[in-house]
């Protein structure tokens, strides 16, 4: 994401953090603004050109809009139920 979970530096990153926080599941964030290598590396790894990117148990879920849609249609709840 851009920024940290407590201080997001972009509206899309903030939206993703707010959704994840609403489920009370443990999550960790990496600030790509402080790590240029990660910033490019994560885009190459997922074949996804934008930030933020969400992973659940190591699996790439999508960016902000995908996360929002999965949140709204109930899929995200199912995916997060596997997170301890």
């Amino acid at each position: 994401m851009k920024g940290t979970a407590d201080a997001p530096m972009c509206g899309f990153s903030a939206q993703v953090v707010n959704i994840l926080k609403s489920y009370n599941v443990p999550f960790a964030a990496r600030n790509i603004l402080e790590d240029p290598e990660l910033r490019q590396g994560i885009k190459d790894f997922t074949n996804w050109p934008t930030i933020p990117q969400v992973f659940i148990n190591g699996e790439f879920i999508g960016g902000c809009d995908v996360t929002v849609e999965l949140h709204e249609n109930g899929e995200l709840k199912k995916l997060l139920s596997a997170v301890k």
């Binding site: 899309f12 074949n47 050109p49 809009d65 849609e69």
Partner: protein
């Protein structure tokens, strides 16, 4: 500056049989919104649908374009709900 027309053309070139409705709500050439309708999305995971559209704009994201607020639909789904959108 990137225009909505340019984004529309890049998406429609990359996604088979796509119709893209693209706007630049802040008129800043950096934050675009798009609705993309294509039969290829049928049965495709949402993340894959978005991946296909976003990667069409990879060069733009490497430059001045910051974000694309995106919704993707099959033509059938789009026909059901398009009245909710002002396109």
């Amino acid at each position: 500056m990137t225009t909505p027309g340019e984004i529309k053309e890049m998406i429609e070139k990359a996604v088979p049989k796509a119709t893209a409705y693209v706007s630049d709500p802040n008129n800043d050439g950096e934050h675009f919104e798009a609705i993309v309708v294509s039969p290829v999305f049928e049965g495709m995971l949402l993340v894959k649908q978005h991946q296909m559209v976003l990667n069409a704009l990879r060069d733009k994201f490497a430059g001045a374009v910051h974000a694309l607020r995106l919704k993707t639909f099959t033509p059938m789904k789009w026909n059901e709900i398009k009245n909710q959108f002002s396109v």
